[in-house]
């Protein structure tokens, strides 16, 4: 279509209701909606344009589970054959015994708390999310495991990609400088354990609060470098 035009620049800050593009050439992606000929913003965030798709990376908001996401969850309840986990989302997730354990379990003889108990923290993969937002997890993934010790941090879920950085650059920087093991869940829960946990915590919280600013990587390495000596 000839009269399609983009009204914003890449990475521009937009507010809900702002018109991003006009005409049918562009298509609304996450964080945007179409109203007649126009594509408008749903949430506050930074615009991203990929070919014909206009989307927004939000600066706030809750985590909505998607199949394939790796999440960190806290076991909050247990039934005969399943666990219920709090995954920092409006929706609780369930982990079925069959998705959690490979071996045969005789339920007459075993209490499933020997695998995971209430209060345990688990890194698991989202297997499936039904339309009514029933979330199922699986441990059938090479990264999935129980997390023992360490500490838990919560950040805004939409800022997780920023914390990981391009091809893991940011998280590798923090891991390397603080000699910590760090696992970041797509749900905004971060688990860390190691020598210098408090420094890593400070770096992660700095990424969270300054995620929309420029030159963040330099400031993070400065923070880590200074304290490391």
């Amino acid at each position: 279509m000839e009269n399609s035009e983009l009204l914003i620049k890449e990475r521009e800050l937009v507010i809900p209701g702002q018109t991003l593009a006009r005409g049918l050439e562009y298509l609304p992606s996450s964080g945007t909606f179409r109203s007649d000929q126009e594509i408008k913003a749903k949430v506050l965030g930074l615009v991203r344009v990929k070919e014909r798709f206009v989307s927004i990376v939000p600066l706030a908001g809750v985590y909505v589970p998607k199949p394939g996401d790796g999440v960190i969850g806290l076991v909050k309840d247990m039934q005969t054959t399943l666990w219920i986990l709090d995954i920092n989302s409006p929706y609780d997730a369930i982990l079925l015994l069959g998705e959690a354990v490979d071996e045969y379990v005789d339920l007459n003889k075993t209490d499933i708390s020997m695998f995971y108990d209430i209060g345990d923290v688990i890194y698991a993969k989202v297997l499936n999310v039904s339309k009514s937002k029933q979330v199922q997890l699986t441990m059938n993934d090479y990264r999935a495991r129980k997390l023992i010790g360490g500490r838990i941090l919560k950040i805004t879920p939409s800022k997780v990609p920023r914390l990981i950085g391009r091809e893991g650059s940011m998280i590798e920087l923090i891991k390397g400088e603080t000699k910590c093991q760090i696992i970041v869940g797509q749900n905004g829960v971060v688990w860390l354990k190691g020598e210098n946990e408090s420094l890593a915590t400070r770096a992660i919280l700095m990424v969270e609060s300054e995620s929309h600013t420029v030159g963040l990587t330099d400031r993070i390495s400065e923070l880590l470098g200074k304290k490391g000596e």
């Binding site: 209701g17 908001g61 809750v62 420029v214």
Partner: protein, 247 residues
């Protein structure tokens, strides 16, 4: 603060009691994200009217029987602090607070994408810390910013202002004594600067001509409020110059 009686005239030489022109707002100030524990928060002040809002959610809906499997549920609570006025306001539910909570909730259910978060609730708390007329307008403006701060998907912001009739003249942003002794007080909310009204409440009697004049003024006022809300949001999340390409 002592109670002031009715002044003889409230508009003298085209100026109002506080020295404003007929179509001017009181001093407006906006602060976004001032509460750390809430998902989103904002303060909106019209002169001496202070509204503090906080937004929680979307979160799991309780009681569960009110969960809607297709969309989110808005819980809205408007309340005036006991110390907000010249006389103590009895805390707790009153007829007035329940009504205002309800109309604000209905205004927001038109702009929030409720179907994005089925089975959840979005909680909006509006506390009036100091009341000097137009409290529901200040509350709506603040709540709209708090919702944006919480990252809740919306069609547009909500902007609100009051118009009234004082001494036979149509005025914008009714304040203080004008509310107590003026003839008409009307609260209006629009979807940003669009020509869509989502809240309109009026006390008093007006003619048809006066009403359409008042609506025109309210429209103008709301678009001014919208500009201020927009600027406050952009100010809060200013981005430095240059272009960074981290993914």
């Amino acid at each position: 603060m002592t109670k002031v009686g009715k002044p003889e005239r409230m508009i003298i030489g085209g100026k109002r009691l506080d020295g404003r022109e007929l179509e001017h707002f009181r001093a407006i100030s906006i602060e976004i994200g001032n509460l750390k524990k809430a998902a989103g928060s904002a303060v909106f002040k019209f002169g001496d009217t202070y509204a503090q809002t906080a937004v929680f959610g979307p979160q799991e809906m309780h009681p569960k029987h009110l969960q809607n499997p297709e969309k989110s549920f808005i819980k809205c609570r408007y309340a005036m602090a006991p110390f907000s006025s010249t006389e103590r306001i009895r805390p707790g539910r009153t007829r007035r607070a329940t009504e205002i909570s309800k109309v604000i909730k209905e205004a927001f259910s038109d702009v929030i994408f409720l179907e994005d978060y089925p089975k959840t609730s979005i909680d909006i708390y509006i506390e009036i810390l100091q009341a000097d007329a137009s409290t529901r307008c200040a509350g709506l403006n603040a709540a709209s910013l708090a919702l944006v701060d919480a990252g809740i998907p919306m069609k547009n912001l909500v902007s609100s202002c009051s118009v009234g009739k004082v001494d036979g003249k149509i005025v914008l942003d009714v304040g203080g004594l004008e509310d107590n002794y003026g003839e008409v007080d009307m609260a209006v909310a629009t979807v940003a600067d669009e020509d869509k009204f989502i809240l309109l409440q009026m006390d008093g009697i007006v003619t048809k001509q006066e009403l359409s004049k008042m609506l025109d003024l309210a429209r103008k006022g709301c678009s001014q409020i919208f500009e201020m809300q927009k600027n406050a949001l952009k100010e809060k999340y200013k981005i430095g110059e240059g272009d960074e390409q981290d993914e």
